[in-house]
């Protein structure tokens, strides 16, 4: 796959190509010390752009969504109203219901736009293979879980993401799609009444929308913990695309 304007040669068998999707790799030589490090181009530009736009958009959507929720913090009847959770105003965006709706109805287009661009790019470029959790990732789930949660030995990394990582990212993308669908069901319960019906009605759609937000926040929490644990090179790769010392076979 030819990407971008660089002309770095790459080698590798067909199997490797499918397994790693790391289409470009480099050896970096320090001319003073003679030390050689490896680097792979892990995140294409569109993925990085979408990632950071989405990070901002998700932050605004959650913050304004919680302010909207404050207007009726319940999933029951209006009369009598039983509040589920009184979310503090200081941890919300928009200041009042009208303001929060302005943020929510503005950033939802940014959120949807970056989501569509991301999913579209992944599908058409084939880069989705790096992220999508499939059947062949199943056998690796348990060893990886043992490593993460029970201090088991670290399974050798064969590609950019380990099976649990793929599972997390695939789930996050699914949650993103569901957050939009449930959102449309409660924003337009007449024009998209079939969506609300699929979700068990307007009432339940609003509950799903809320629960999906918490699931997304759980992902974000785990994601941030892992980013901190995996260090600088890993973090930088989402900025520059290049990951130094990838710890997995890059091309040959």
């Amino acid at each position: 796959m030819q990407m971008g304007g660089h002309d770095f040669s790459r080698a590798g068998t067909q199997r490797d190509r499918q397994a790693t999707m790391a289409s470009r790799a480099l050896e970096i030589e320090d001319l003073k010390t003679g030390e050689v490090a490896e680097a792979v181009y892990e995140h294409p530009l569109i993925v990085r752009v979408c990632h950071w736009i989405n990070a901002v958009a998700l932050f605004v959507m959650v913050g304004s969504g919680l302010q909207i929720f404050r207007a009726f913090p319940s999933f029951g009847a209006k009369i009598p109203q039983k509040d589920l959770l009184n979310w503090p105003k200081s941890l919300a965006i928009g200041g009042w219901l009208g303001g929060a709706l302005q943020w929510h109805l503005t950033f939802m287009w940014i959120y949807i736009g970056s989501g569509l661009l991301y999913v579209g790019y992944q599908l058409f470029s084939g880069n989705y293979r790096q992220v999508l959790f499939t059947k062949r990732d199943l056998p690796g789930v348990w060893p990886m879980a043992q490593h993460y949660f029970f201090f088991g030995p670290k399974p050798p990394l064969k590609e950019a993401y380990n099976p649990l990582q793929k599972h997390a990212y695939t789930s996050a993308i699914a949650l993103g799609i569901l957050s939009v669908l449930t959102g449309f069901a409660i924003w337009k319960p007449v024009q998209f009444s079939w969506l609300a019906w699929l979700m068990g009605g307007f009432h339940l759609a609003r509950l799903w929308h809320f629960l999906i937000m918490w699931a997304m926040l759980a992902f974000v929490f785990g994601h941030l913990v892992m980013v901190i644990l995996h260090g600088w090179n890993n973090f930088v790769s989402m900025l520059t695309g290049w990951k130094k010392d990838p710890q997995y076979p890059s091309s040959g």
Binding site: H6, F8, S9, R10, A11, A25, L26, E27, I28, E29, D30, L31, V36, A39, L45, R48, V49, W52, I53, V56, V60, I68, F69, A71, F72, S74, A77, K78, I79, Q81, L97, G98, G99, L101, Q102, W103, L105, T106, F107, M108, W109, I110, K188, P189, V190, Q191, S193, F202, H203, R206, V236, L239, T240, G241, W242, S250, S251, G252
Partner: protein, 241 residues
Amino acid sequence: MKAYRRIDRRKFQTVTRRELLKLTPVLALGAFAIPKLQEPLLKAGLGFSDWASSKFFRTGLLAPTFADSDLTPADKFPINGYDVEDPEVDLDKWTLTVSGAVQHPGEYSLAQIKTLPEVSQNTRHVCVEGWDVIGHFSGVRLSDFLQMIGADPAARFVSVECADDYYESLDMATATHPQSLLCYGMYGQPLTRKHGAPLRLNIPTKIGYKQAKYLTDLKVETVLSKFGYWEDQGYSEFYGL
């Protein structure tokens, strides 16, 4: 064994710096953090949402209707007044004042309005706050009334004013929707004062704050000087469901 290309460290730094700079367009989102730009940007975003909403709106599509067993009990139907719950309308002397782009402006009594065919429907009332109820509404089609008063079909809006100084507006596509009612009854009874006696709007394809109560004036117009009580404070102008 390793067949990939070797470059020196400084060249690699140039490559990564160039890649980092390609992300700068993302910083444009920072415009939302600049106080001077925030308001116009959010206004534009809300305006885009309203524009998209008007495109989503399908005139032939009916809002879901419900069985009597699904109704929220009458005493559990919330009363949301923005100011007073009962503006003390003199029901005996009440008339609806019609003006604007119409052939027959003037005062219309409730009896005159009731000569139009009656429609009853069980529809969902969705509040912008997030709650919803299902109510039973009776009245006449707003489209029938617009015909009665000879409204200009090319006009873009129907606006109303209320006895409590509330005011609202509807786009013509919504006003002429078959489920849009001039409503004079709820749950088989004449409208109670708290629910907007003697006449209110029941628009199942719109959000709750569009369902104005205690109507006193109805105007057909193309250029609105004001949109609605809540709209003019920053809520969505279209807010179709």
